[in-house]
Assembly symmetry: C3
Homo-oligomer: 391 residues x 3
């Protein structure tokens, strides 16, 4: 069957570097780890499409903690967990004033996966997710909880590993394999949005990931729309090591010219996010409103950073693959002026939807890799028993 090939490439017991691990940032994972997740996702999709159920849990809980509702990633997490047999509990992250150890234990007594989405605060958000991961590890070692849940970053201030691995795999599938991404030009560009306060997780995550696979990466942004400083360094170092390249420009047109892949996306500058984190720590909510207002006013200077059909025409043969972690801010559909025109959105919608559909499989693959000592054997058992997903 179609999925046998993907299964054979999965790590066995000796090769699985992800057993017992959490998924916080792609740059904590080896290339082999990342390929294992991508292959696992492929295998899971192939199994499910063949009506074979990959359920590995007879019971078990998956806890989700979202600091704000993110339609898309929340459903993806629930769907991926359900595929494996886990039941979702949606837990309010703001658990009174409990200590993190208490919160983590409360969430973990019968839990095999914890998904956390918390992106509002520079450094603090990542640290929060890391501490939950550390805490459940400690609680399991002490015997307070029987099984260690795998903690998944569903979007932080720094990275969004599920989104970016789904993107990587989707690009690979469109270009005939990860190896074929080598030498391709990808433009990651800031784009205008009336909201304007999106986190840096996706642009930073994409840059950090694709530079590892030999791509020629161009980052375009208006002056001042900066990422975290180490995101640039990481991208440059990765590119050098992988034989790709990393360049920056302040022209969307330059970035788009001859690009094979384009990733238009809005983000708020690092300096704004840092300031907001400070004000929030000082409980100065009113000044956060003012700060966000100023950001939105400043963004209006860059209202022409919109992907139009003319802009798409400049890409390789006029038909670059367009990548976006939808929902997008689309002109005339979700706002008066947004990241792309309705024409561009509609022309690429099928592809955007197919790409988003990979997220549940990436999540499920991560959980299997973290929970199964020998993922290859686990998948073989799944394929051999061939339980029907439905009849």
């Amino acid at each position: 069957m179609e999925f046998c090939d993907a299964i054979n490439k999965l790590p066995n017991k000796e090769e699985n570097g992800l057993f017992g691990k959490s998924f916080l940032r792609t740059w904590d994972m080896t290339d082999a780890d990342i390929e294992a997740v991508a292959k696992g996702a492929c295998a899971l999709k192939a199994l499910r499409d063949s009506n074979v159920s990959p359920k590995i849990f007879d019971s078990g809980i998956a806890v989700s903690m979202f600091s704000k509702k993110d339609t898309g990633m929340d459903i993806a997490f629930a769907s991926g967990c359900d595929l494996l047999g886990l039941t979702i509990i949606d837990m309010d992250k703001k658990l009174g004033n409990n200590s993190i150890n208490e919160t983590a234990a409360m969430a973990s007594y019968m839990t095999d996966a914890v998904g956390v989405c918390e992106s509002d605060f520079i450094e603090k958000s990542s640290r929060y997710i890391k501490r939950i991961s550390d805490s459940v590890e400690e609680s399991q070692k002490k015997g307070i909880i029987s099984q260690k849940p795998c903690v998944l970053n569903l979007g932080s201030d720094e990275d969004s590993p599920i989104q970016t691995i789904a993107d990587l795999q989707y690009m690979a599938s469109r270009f005939g394999g990860i190896e074929n991404l080598k030498g391709k030009k990808i433009a990651v560009t800031w784009a205008y949005s009336p909201n304007g306060t999106r986190s840096l997780a996706v642009p930073q995550g994409i840059l950090s990931l694709v530079t590892r696979f030999g791509m020629n990466v161009v980052l375009a942004a208006p002056e001042g729309m900066d990422l975290m400083p180490d995101a640039y360094d990481r991208a440059a170092q990765n590119a050098e090591k992988s034989g790709g390249s990393f360049a920056r420009t302040d022209s969307m047109e330059e970035a788009f010219t001859d690009a094979d892949i384009v990733v238009p996306i809005n983000w708020a500058p690092y300096t704004f996010l840092e300031k907001r984190t400070e004000l929030s720590a000082a409980n100065l909510g009113t000044y956060i409103d003012l700060l966000e207002h100023e950001l939105r006013e400043n963004n209006k200077n860059f209202i022409d950073w919109e992907v139009t059909e003319e802009m798409m025409e400049k890409t390789k043969e006029g038909k670059a693959l367009l990548i976006h972690d939808i929902p997008a801010d689309v002109t005339d559909i979700s706002c008066i002026r947004g990241e792309m025109t309705a024409q561009v959105y509609n022309a690429n919608l099928d592809s955007l939807l197919a790409e988003a559909g990979m997220r549940p499989y990436v999540i499920a693959a991560m959980i299997i890799l973290a929970k199964s000592e020998d993922p290859k054997a686990a998948f073989k058992t799944i394929a051999e028993r061939a339980t029907k997903r439905y009849f």
Copy 2:
């Protein structure tokens, strides 16, 4: 066993007109389709009552989208889906400003059933549900989603097919079969409620459905409390075709006299709903409040449209079957003055509760008929494997 009979009457592959279909309005379904749903519901109830589990999904998602919480239908949807092995995700219908195609795809990657309850806006509500159904069909054809979820209307501006088929089946069970409803008199009457803004879905849906089975239908309402114009035409045409009758009156007493079945229910007049839809499209919320206030004031002219014990005495032998899609507005229980007195409510409560208990089975039957090419074979497999629901 008891359920064998119902199973034998289910459609096989050649007869199943519902495979791959959505359930938007009963008047889009043939009589055979409707009977298949009713029989399927019966068979599922008999199986579960015999401790046989009809789970046909090893994993899978059911998404519910409620524009407002409706206790009863939401639990019915969750229960019916759980019986088949689907996990509920409660999705906020207001998904930012995503396009309907995006919303529908987001909700569908691993989804086998989507239940939508959206009844506030004349025409727009039905169109919304229809577009979700069309969109998932298109996405599945394009390969964006692997399986096509069955879309169920849990209550729109026009119809409430689950409620009305559950009602039909309950009436049939009380009169010894659908065929025995022929010639029976059923009174569908407007009743007073202090809320006064209920949708037309149930009264229109009941009229449209029962006129197909040879019943003598009388609709009673105060002047001005009109349904959508085509609801009257549909009822009249159905009655003519089925050998029943359809009449209108402005007297509850006339309708109740010698009735075998009575259906007292509050609704807001079509003209009000149309006006509210207009005001809502124009974002004139304050004027909607005023409009609703005026409706409630006007309703007070009809405060005597309350079902009392005296009114029930006028029905056939004083003991007509009382049908209501509970929760009802009951005098002295949920309001100062409502659709019926506490005496009438309490005297009929067991029956009302038993009727409401059919809804989860109707939902589950619809999903099996939409997902199984050969429902008769599917049910036979369920009965033969005889997995215990609990031990």
Copy 3:
């Protein structure tokens, strides 16, 4: 295997006093009932820790009704139910103005367990839970619902049986068996909290339960911080019968001296709760705010009722077991001044977390005892089939 011993001590068909029952208060249960729940919880934990799945439901619903969110018990209920194969529906307790019979039936059509947490109103809260239990029993007898759900009190004005049985079992496990609790000194003491409006369920429940097992119980509270009158009588009678003792003091120090176990916990005095219930019935919300303000002001007179390291030093060998139904109000962690210092909290955190981890197993044990005629046979089947919880 480790769990065989616990299983052999479970009641068989003749011995099971809990079949078909609800769990409202421990003082409605015999000692044998309570030990059966504790043993069942042990057996379930041992099975799950050995990767054996105790799922007994192939489908089925568990409904939770929380009057306010209680992080901890809500996750415990969801986890315990999931372990047995039940799917959670979180139902808003305030179901419009439906009658209790209607609410209970709506919640029960396919439901095997209903968990209710409602503690705000003296007498009314318990009566509410009792009426739900009576109503589902009646509905099942009449055939309106096919199976009678087991109703669990997750916290009322009077008792919190899941919490206290989990506490009892945890204490037993730390002292080598329930029989070893005989003659041990346990101090149940009021402690300061800036909130100050916690219910009496846990202190009353603990007193009522531990006095049955021959412990020497000392209750310490500032003047005026009274429990319900019958809680004292019950504790005294139990102590006399069991060969233990029950004493009261207004000195935390006296209670802590030489104690084997300490249970510091905040509660609002009975007279306050009674007054609040009255004001609430009269819809005088503003005066409730004032009443709560006065209570908090009065509490400040007892701000030194805080468990410190010095206070802990006074206990048996300075190392009494500290019991609390976390989350606790901890000085410097969740508030400026609370029930205990951060040092005491941190020194006892592992134990507190382990104790809280028993709650899901107690819940699952109650459901099995209520639903299985012969629990010993049910557990033997679970152990023999040895379905893996995950592979």
